[in-house]
């Protein structure tokens, strides 16, 4: 079977959907020459009206996409760096997201925002290393963080087809992931539905995006010690697949989340809050996250120290396995 890389899967999904639906177009910076490769080949295939190279005017082009969506199109915006989402936060959270309710359902805003290379990029430092998916979950904008090439393909497709704004984070650490794929099986992956990335029975590890690889590695390592780790990949940050998570935790009764957000009021907090409200756990759950308020320092070892990693996950999993007698 041919290998498909995550980045190529995104590119393929975008191209397939542009071919299938003439209302889909893509805009962003340096997308004509496809600096990030997300749009590789698309300018030649679809021309300047469907692949719109923009000036550095993120706020205006984000609202421009909202306007185009209100007029019936399905824009996809590529954002070169994750912090550009801070710059257009008003345009997404306060404009695109609110149109449907505020107009009493008169319109829809099917815009997809894609960040190819979210989270830390080695050596890009503080202003280019954010992973702000929890912010969008908080304001209620549909948000996905695919982990595998097939999911990258399928979730991007669903995002574009969804009638609401959807943010797609493609973590830097996942872009290079490759997978054997039968192309004929590539299909939309529904928003809001998680998957079991690895089944297990002793503890559920919730992970997203590139951290799935770490979760699987930790699961492997612990398997050698006779511990059976289930890895649950919600795929969609918001809406969260609470039922899928509940089903996993019902089996394992132990829970650890690894999350590349900052700790406070992040995705990990949400998972633990749901656990506190609804799950009957045998031990207190744990979260492995970026620290509160994290700013990623430039020096590589410091950058790595601030990101959640395998060692911390291992320690957290061990922690929930040994604690809990008092519950």
């Amino acid at each position: 079977m041919p290998k498909l890389s995550y980045l190529k899967a995104l590119n393929r999904a975008l191209g397939d959907e542009m071919a299938a639906d003439p209302d889909v177009f893509v805009l962003g910076e340096d997308i004509r020459v496809a600096a990030s490769n997300l749009t590789a080949g698309l300018f030649d295939r679809f021309g300047a009206d469907r692949v719109l190279d923009t000036p550095l005017s993120e706020q205006a082009f984000t609202n421009f996409a909202t306007g185009a969506a209100l007029a019936g199109l399905r824009p996809v915006i590529e954002f070169q760096i994750p912090s550009l989402l801070f710059l257009v936060f008003e345009q997404i959270a306060n404009q695109a997201h609110k149109f449907s309710l505020m107009t009493g359902g008169q319109c829809k805003v099917p815009v997809t925002y894609v960040v190819p290379g979210s989270g830390s990029r080695t050596g890009w430092a503080g202003q280019h290393s954010d992973h702000p998916y929890s912010l969008f979950a908080h304001v209620g904008v549909k948000t996905v963080v695919p982990a595998t090439p097939a999911d990258a393909y399928g979730l991007l497709l669903s995002a574009i087809r969804d009638d609401d704004p959807v943010v797609v984070f493609a973590p830097s650490g996942a872009l290079g992931v490759r997978e054997d794929v039968d192309f004929s099986t590539l299909a939309p992956v529904p928003l809001g539905v998680g998957r079991i990335a690895r089944s297990g029975s002793d503890v559920t590890v919730v992970a997203l995006g590139h951290l799935i690889q770490d979760a699987l590695a930790v699961a492997d390592e612990l398997a050698g010690e006779g511990v059976s780790v289930e890895v649950f990949d919600p795929r969609t940050v918001y809406p969260l697949d609470v039922e899928g998570l509940a089903a996993s935790v019902a089996r394992t009764r132990r829970l650890v989340v690894i999350d590349d957000s900052n700790r406070s009021s992040g995705f990990g907090a949400e998972v633990l809050a749901v656990a506190a409200e609804r799950f009957d756990l045998a031990a207190p759950p744990r979260r492995v996250t970026r620290p509160d308020g994290a700013v990623l320092p430039f020096a590589l070892a410091l950058d790595r120290a601030v990101q959640p990693g395998r060692d911390q996950l291992l320690a957290a999993v061990r922690g929930v396995l040994t604690s809990g007698g008092d519950r």
Binding site: N63, G67, L70, T103, P190, T236
Partner: protein, 316 residues
């Protein structure tokens, strides 16, 4: 569009606003409004130049724009009163009136935000081969919002059929233009290569003429035009000002503004009998509209989150 039609529109807006202010006082409208009194000629003149399928975006001070674009006053009153029969089913209120069937893409409560939305919508229609024009209304204060200036650039670069209509009423809330706008308003548009004109915003016929020319230019594929309409806000920034005394302009300035009342300017062009007939017609229309609005149902609080998502099926 005849002089009578233009008069009918300015008169309709004026009387709608006066009644709306009454409804704020009586508590039927909660939260207050930003009255458009004094600026009616801009909305009337601009929208008179538009086709039904042309688009507009409006502002926090938007009642005049949407009335001029043709909304049913009963549905607009109902919206202000938060009723289910309102334009937005009571979900939007004064600052968000929208009627997509009439090309009204919504009023926007964020100053400067809608210019780029209008630009995107106009671009989308042109891409589909339609010769639709979009108008974005905004105030002098919006000229200092970077996102609006960015929109000028996109519109100019891509020759988008959008008209930028700046209602320069001299103030952003309490901030006078001179304290806020370095350089000139039209100079900013011109800097992006957009033809820009300053016109008398108290005279609907002049506004109509300028807009007609700009719309033709846009339809012909020649890109955006910017119109600075000099006008006077003759009431409060917002009805809260009727209670809170904010001192930022003099009584003389206000009465100078009243000497150029657009209702009088346009009304003077009509024979007295015609004018009286229009006045009566408007009154009857608004009586009926207010009655319908007052009689219509409040939305069900259980449906508070209806319409939150257009694709709610993925929400679980």
């Amino acid at each position: 569009m005849t002089s009578v039609d233009l008069y009918r529109t300015v008169r309709l807006i004026r009387r709608f606003e006066e009644r709306a202010i009454e409804f704020v006082r009586s508590g039927e409208i909660v939260g207050g409004i930003h009255p458009y009194i004094g600026e009616e000629a801009v909305a009337a003149g601009v929208c008179a130049a538009l086709r039904p399928d042309d688009l507009i975006t409006s502002t926090h001070r938007g009642h005049g724009h949407v009335l001029a674009k043709g909304v049913n006053p009963a549905r607009m009153f109902a919206e202000l009163m938060g009723r289910e029969s309102g334009l937005n089913k009571g979900r939007g209120g004064s600052m968000h009136a929208a009627d997509f069937g009439l090309g009204i893409l919504g009023a926007n409560a964020i100053v400067g935000a809608a210019g780029s939305i209008a630009t995107g919508a106009a671009w989308a229609h042109r891409r589909r081969g339609r010769d639709v024009v979009a108008v974005s209304f905004f105030g002098d204060g919006a000229m200092n919002e970077g996102m609006l200036l960015e929109a000028f650039n996109l519109a100019a670069l891509w020759r988008v059929p959008v008209l930028f209509v700046c209602e320069n009423n001299g103030y952003a809330t309490t901030m006078p233009v001179a304290g806020a706008v370095a350089g000139s308003i039209t100079g900013r548009a011109k800097a992006f290569g957009i033809p820009a004109f300053t016109i008398d915003g108290q005279d609907p016929e002049k506004v109509l003429a300028a807009t007609t020319a700009a719309a033709e230019r846009a339809r012909a594929g020649k890109g955006p035009t910017f119109l600075e309409c000099l006008t006077h806000r003759l009431d409060a920034h917002h009805t809260f000002e009727h209670r809170a005394r904010l001192s930022y302009r003099s009584a003389e300035e206000l009465s100078a503004g009243w000497s150029r009342d657009p209702v009088e300017i346009q009304g003077a062009r009509l024979a007295a009998a015609d004018r009286a007939a229009v006045d009566a017609e408007v009154e009857a229309l608004l009586d009926a509209a207010a009655g319908i609005a007052l009689g219509s149902a409040h939305p069900d609080p259980a449906a508070a989150l209806e319409y939150l998502y257009a694709s709610p099926e993925v929400m679980r």
